[in-house]
Symmetry: C2
């Protein structure tokens, strides 16, 4: 590693909000009117190479300012640090941020403060990948297993996964990495689409979009459920009719139910052969998910987009509570914690199908799934990465999905960077879009 | 209830920080240098009766500004509401705040955003009790069981506790309420003290304070452990020598350990007959606590000060993971969620020994324990409320502990109100104390 004297000189934040509630894009049983937003940050350096680190937390509107405040509370830990040291070992920053005992009180390792840590850590990974001239998935997939293990915080995990076991899992996947990278570059990573199934869409729109999804090469779609059972029966029937018996149809309740309701409602929809029931109840309810899984089999149980950290994922796996693990790129403490979560899933043999959509989650999550395929799980069997066709136009290197597969990004970085014009328009409340809106309202 | 037209006119916030790190008060294995702080708010009205609602979240320094920002994000839900409606049914506000779907994304029901909800809800209870002319414990203890049940959010609880079961628990305790209130007013509520046991104190200070605790009438003390085993062996030996064999000595690891370490370390200290091991591992690790409990019995397992919400407490009880439930007055969504937690504990027959100390936690927690004694559990058997002799002088109605017992407060309200002079001095960074400090540093 070349030593250099470059330092992080600034951590700049932006409260970016898109008015998605107006079209009911993203509507579900718990979130009727989200305004997809990003608490966004840029790390700047004095390296003179023009490279920046971009990162963000995805939120759905109100409170994005609180999330920005939490990111700003971390500034003192980052500004002034050596760029090359940070990029050589993002785990050191991760440990420092999680280890700030005063900030830790605000979690620990959950909610607003933890997502802020994730955003900053992810920005460092973006910068590290850019400096390495590689897309993040490739930087991770080519890394030495021992170094990857050094990037993981094993605290509270060792009853389920030790560093030695993690190393063994990564070493086991060493064979065939180059071949799988070739497969990935040729075919991409399998996706499924949630675009047809938002709760606010009419049956006609649902049917049309489901058929379009098939024509676009997707082999799995997802429907939002949980607000009204008779609506759900009708919508599931329409979707199943549109896609036929062989395409997988997942359903997603977005935490709407208590345990008994989750069991009864899922079983009531079983005639439409749902592949998985997602977020049947509170993301905090490990024992509840285990009870639901037992009672709704063979329908699989999936959760993760709101699971707060590796400790809860550990228990979901220990308790046999999930069939599908849906990590989220901006919910936990960044790439480092997601490495821990991917390793836990590999240890327990549970497929990872990340949550995506929102703002920029597809852009980030693809790197994690592609690394997992090449250098950890070694397979895409029963693995699909969520795809939602929203808001990609705001990113400098948007995801590309063709024939139902994410194309592997080739641009260096974590694909996290928004166009400056998008930020300028949608910064809240002062951006050109919002200031016009707010003026018209008043 | 008299109808009136008074409204909430303001929600004012204050970032109050005390420089406790300078004396190592409050030092433990995870929190070496806390600056005990309060993200504090005042609800003002146009009722003309001079009454305000005060509430706060306890933090330990950095990030208190983020907590204040989260409280401010709730202002729009509160200002303009009818004072009498709010005070007649604080649960309606609790449901609205938890149900704001955009803010919910930032948790859900955990961390900074959830603690902000707790602070605002608690301020409403303070105002409600003042308007009723009663200390909060009495308002709750005299309330109709059906109304108390209406104040609880049972979402995600019904697999463990239904509204009907909650009502039965409260009805069961109806007999003898007046007699227990008399006992409480005469004797107070049993306390234990953590004051001798901070990790930063010398053995001499520990011994002296432990003996003083006995002289002051306490029958249980607590020691911080978990940084260094040989230190812990020496300190536990000194403390046991000071208090003799009959006084209970709890130990507290503040989440320092993984599961295997927790078991080994606790068993290594077993010769000193610790009564409970508190926070042996992550507060998120339900299954881990269950494993520890099995392996360290007859030492009891206690946790709760960092348990994020009722859903995790539910599972700790379902899994048989704890012997002692340590709710915290400002960690969860306020009095309403703590009613749920007290009801869960009563259902499972687990004693509640609240976490206190910090800034103002003793002032708040006493009301919850006193309500529990009079109108729910009906007993103080194996129940003790933590007491730490710090920072009470900043409160208008500070706790009074005599002969090892909290005296029942008689002033109307939730005892949450700080002296205006204390706020003026310790508001950060502009208060008279901090501005002088910061000036001297620069």
């Amino acid at each position: 590693m070349p030593t250099d004297t470059a330092r992080i000189t600034a951590l700049d934040t932006y409260d970016v909000r898109f008015p998605t509630s107006r079209s009911l894009d993203g509507s579900d049983a718990m979130n009727p009117d989200p305004d997809y937003s990003a608490a966004y940050l840029v790390l700047r350096t004095d390296a003179g190479d023009g490279l920046e680190g971009h990162g963000f937390t995805f939120t759905i509107g109100r409170g994005n300012d609180v999330q920005v405040a939490a990111i700003e509370a971390l500034r003192g830990h980052v500004v002034g640090r050596s760029v090359s040291d940070l990029c050589a070992d993002p785990g050191s920053l991760n440990r420092d941020l999680i280890g700030d005992s005063q900030l830790r009180w605000l979690g620990p390792e959950k909610g607003v403060m933890h997502m802020a840590i994730g955003a900053v850590v992810n920005a460092v990974w973006d910068l590290a990948a850019k400096r390495a001239g590689r897309p993040l998935w490739r930087l991770l997939a080519e890394a030495e297993p021992q170094w990857l293990v050094s990037q993981v915080d094993f605290r509270y995990l060792t009853d389920a996964l030790t560093p030695d076991e993690a190393l063994t899992l990564l070493e086991r996947a060493r064979d065939g990495r180059a071949e799988r990278a070739g497969t990935l570059l040729a075919r991409g990573y399998p996706a499924y689409t949630t675009s047809p199934g938002w709760l606010g869409y009419s049956d006609e729109k649902l049917t049309r979009l489901a058929k379009e999804a098939l024509a676009d090469g997707f082999t799995q779609i997802k429907l939002k459920v949980g607000a009204d059972l008779s609506d759900d029966l009708r919508r599931c029937r329409a979707a199943r009719a549109a896609i036929g018996p062989d395409v997988r149809m997942a359903i997603d309740a977005n935490q709407r139910w208590d345990v008994a309701d989750a069991i009864a409602w899922t079983n009531a929809l079983a005639e439409f052969d749902p592949y998985w029931i997602e977020e049947p109840t509170s993301p905090d309810d490990i024992l509840g998910h285990a009870a639901v899984r037992t009672a709704v089999a063979p329908v699989k149980v999936a959760t993760g987009e709101h699971v707060q950290n590796r400790i809860v994922f550990k228990q979901l796996l220990q308790a046999g509570a999930i069939d599908v693990l849906q990590l989220d790129a901006t919910r936990v403490g960044g790439v480092n914690e997601n490495l821990a979560i991917l390793l836990l899933a590999a240890k327990f043999g549970v497929p990872v199908c990340p949550h995506a959509g929102g703002v920029g989650l597809c852009e980030l999550a693809q790197h994690l799934s592609m690394f997992d395929f090449i250098a950890l799980s070694g397979t895409t069997q029963d693995r699909v990465l969520e795809y939602v066709d929203h808001l990609h136009e705001h990113f400098v290197t948007p995801t590309v999905v063709r024939d139902g597969h994410y194309r592997a990004p080739t641009t260096p970085g974590f694909s996290a960077q928004m166009h400056p014009e998008s930020i300028a328009a949608y910064v809240y409340p002062g951006g050109t879009f919002w200031s016009t809106e707010l003026e018209e309202q008043s």
